[in-house]
Symmetry: C2
Subunit: 233 residues, 2 copies
Amino acid sequence: MQVLLVHAHPEPRSFCAALKDRAVATLRADGHRVEISDLYAMGFDPLAKAADFAFRRDPDYLNYALEQRHNEALGGLAPDIRHELDKLLWCELLLLVFPLFWFAPPAILKGWIDRVLLSGVTYGGRRFYDRGGLRGRRALVAVTLGGREHMFGPDAVHGPLEHMLRPLLQGTLAYVGLEVLPPFVAWHVPYVTDEVRADYLAAFAAHLRRLDSLAPLPFPSLDDFDETMRPRG
Amino acid sequence: MQVLLVHAHPEPRSFCAALKDRAVATLRADGHRVEISDLYAMGFDPLAKAADFAFRRDPDYLNYALEQRHNEALGGLAPDIRHELDKLLWCELLLLVFPLFWFAPPAILKGWIDRVLLSGVTYGGRRFYDRGGLRGRRALVAVTLGGREHMFGPDAVHGPLEHMLRPLLQGTLAYVGLEVLPPFVAWHVPYVTDEVRADYLAAFAAHLRRLDSLAPLPFPSLDDFDETMRPRG
């Protein structure tokens, strides 16, 4: 299996980084190939902007998605975008390992999504969800957070974590056609003992080793919608 | 009313920028005071990082939330964070005007949230949701997007837009105690006629003029949870 691991934590010695390292060691020990995009270590630029494009379809007005398609065709994407996109298209599993900031990815990871998930390649027109450009590949999210597990769920104070993660799990990963596996979650991380952390690391390795037995999360199929994206009768 | 408008679009001539300008004109014409944080124009740095802090409670290990509290107390926050935080604490209405990128704020706006919504000031301990640090103030989100209105809703392909926006509306704005008003949405923006755009601008001005008559969205109350954040029996 070819794996792209995208990691985003401002502290290299964080527990989240330990999860990243455990994933790399586990996957490589099992014979998988792993590429790593450690966004803070790379100094990844998260800003979607005009300078991302060598050429302009419209030099007077930036339509980011249109310029993505135009520049992909002409070879005019910024080198960092092109490089990340090549890693993304190489991988069979996209593994995102990050701390939850405001129930969502840190800005540096959001910027990787904004810039690298290219219009025309990963989605476009009616190619999204189960017709998305990355269909046939899988995605797994692993997050660390400060909250306790009982603070998430149907009657819990924050509701189900999967609902908070909807724009990422459904609106991004499933949108581009990826099969999204159940997330791995390390709860209450700043407050737990070393023993609990060791348990999380072992559980994460086990989660990675049973990916084939995990049922992907359910998301919409375009088969259920007509050409104008209205539900079929 | 004192209003902080935070805007994030990479194209200064975008329709989203026109919404921002219309908001400023409408609010000022009605006698309100408006501060503007135009994040792209400011070159706002979205990265949560060690360099955000002049002092360190722990120089060897970055716990971002702890250093926010430590540096706020000692006057060691990066000047751009301090400046934005002052504007936030000054405002009575926080108005976010941005294009939906991947069903979420662009990275530059996510970074504003990551860096400016300071631990210890806007939330902390058991001060969140209706006990959050910004309670008594309101928030309004105005978004532009490419999708059509019929693509959102209970039976629609993407589900309700408010569900996609949950990490922002509930997990961020309501979390810090803000009363969150119903979002203003301009659908299908890259494809609509100038007449439709003019209608959107007029509707946005009308939305801003009837804020007092809009019922805030419902979110959890900590009164319904005990000290450990478990639901009360």
